[in-house]
Symmetry: C2
Subunit: 336 residues, 2 copies
Amino acid sequence: METKPNIQAVARLANVSIATVSRVINGQGGVRKKTEDRILKAIDELGYIRNAAARTMKKKETKTVGVIVPDIKNPFFPIVMAGIEQKAREKGYFTILSSTNESQAMEENIVKNFIERGVDGVIITTANENSDHLKVLQVQGIPIVAVDRSIKQLEADTVLVDNEKGTYEAVSHLISEGHEKIAIICGPLETTPAYRRLKGYKRALNDHNIMADERYIIKGNFQESSGYKGTRDLFLLDERPTAIFSSNNLMSLGCIKAMQDLNWKLGNEVSFIGFDDIDIATLVNPKLTVVSRPMNLLGELAFQLLHERMSVKDDLPKREYILSPELKIRDSCRLI
Amino acid sequence: METKPNIQAVARLANVSIATVSRVINGQGGVRKKTEDRILKAIDELGYIRNAAARTMKKKETKTVGVIVPDIKNPFFPIVMAGIEQKAREKGYFTILSSTNESQAMEENIVKNFIERGVDGVIITTANENSDHLKVLQVQGIPIVAVDRSIKQLEADTVLVDNEKGTYEAVSHLISEGHEKIAIICGPLETTPAYRRLKGYKRALNDHNIMADERYIIKGNFQESSGYKGTRDLFLLDERPTAIFSSNNLMSLGCIKAMQDLNWKLGNEVSFIGFDDIDIATLVNPKLTVVSRPMNLLGELAFQLLHERMSVKDDLPKREYILSPELKIRDSCRLI
DNA sequence: TCCTAAAATGTAAACGTTTAGATTTTATTC
DNA sequence: GAATAAAATCTAAACGTTTACATTTTAGGA
């Protein structure tokens, strides 16, 4: 098996120096048309493909951004990712994606590996908002954009959704439909989204003079199983809530499954609103009212922020987008 | 801002040569404990992280595998991906993921970029099974594993599901429940999975002496919208089918939505089986009977095959796993 | 203490690019 | 046709590792 052709081989075949080949490869101009054609032909003939590692060594850039998500199986992230990828492609960047399974140790590994590989920037939904393990990026001068979860004590641009507002509106809607015994199934409260959603819930109750009831505040972990379990626990209460708010898509799934298994009649005996629009929302009967957010846009904006930071060398101020979620009213929270 | 520390800087600080530092970094042994400690301390002090590009240049390997999928928004792929990643991590490999949106042009770009970056292997669900655009990988000596869709005229290991069998069993089940007017909504027939599923459908009808009816064979494209449209078209037929088989998860979603909108009563007026188990399957009423396949395992096996090929230098024979799908009988195809 | 083998460490050359700066070629003007 | 400016091309030095091979140090025995 002959060895892979390098720029050297191309230069030899085209009878020019490697410098000229490099100029052609990078479209820098200043090369006679005839020479260029000769080089292009040689490239084609040899099947030459430039070696990114060597290039990176000289240029100290990879045109790559690393994306870190906590759970690739949560459909939220592939959609955000699609938004990131689309914008990245437009700007000539490639993306590399890794999932941490919400493990900080894993996240540290990935970050280290990304640095080794010389990513030009990082977009992250961190597994742990205390930023110590991300400082290393800052030290290396690699720009960071936080998506969906902010990062404490770190100068990172951020793209969030107004979680509190979304939940506030959802719970207010439930109240306006006559509910007073409203439960919430929370995510891990050390994450901002989970915490903010709980806060919105409490504020809504408060603003409408309803006492928060600790029994109705269930601690979940953003996984389907905890939605299921939470719903069952609520069902077993002496005084069941008449409405449930679920803090994310996966848990909503668990909630609905539990209701079916318990024969707890959705929209009839119990109302429901979930955070994030999901496939099943319009399929179950009654259709689910949800707090919906622009997931694709979230990704697009994240890349845009990162791109600015990667291109502009001057210090930009820290920027923060907070997108408004939208309450999509369907049929799962009728007056009971 | 001081420049990033390199192996040189570490060597200087630890008062050794770069060769010794390299040996420590790579855990090759043959270094006195005391020296090693000194080096480790220096590494820590400087925050040194090794430069993968330089390493790749020498070693000509990146410990990276590239994964190419046609549609990252289809939940099938993130799950396969999770399987790949898990096994890859175990073996010290990293994965980079890109999505083609079923575009061959995009796929070519990605492949080229992967080669530039020196991936050690590629796992792909190709957008076009005619392999011309993948030959370049073979030329470069980069091993390829095909997942879910095989690649024609290319020596690539393959991990498939027995699509024909899965569909055959599903349709046979429908027949055994008394159905004769059974429709199928196909995927793009130039892909093997779509084609095989159609084949299984036809064979099942044939084996049970039922004439295939062209009106009941709908051409879809694996997207939700085509499931929706196909179902509506079937509904508008003078002689409606009594059962529908949907060739993938996304189209199943569309089918169920259409049925609801048309008020075409699932399990009552029309039976249904879909390929691939999905979130909604156990949520709609009646619960969906589905053909289920081990998605995570698919990914695990794919990486395993790739890993063998990356490690073993000798020529291995072409290998092919064909996993059996399983018919999960629930309630959506009662006798009508 | 000296000798020797083994262990530890060092030297220097490559890997394939990019890019200043030097050199050659071409085009323009008189 | 010579002088000059501009354009095209070339030379050579980096970039940060790994590693074969050379050299030095250490330890153990006589």
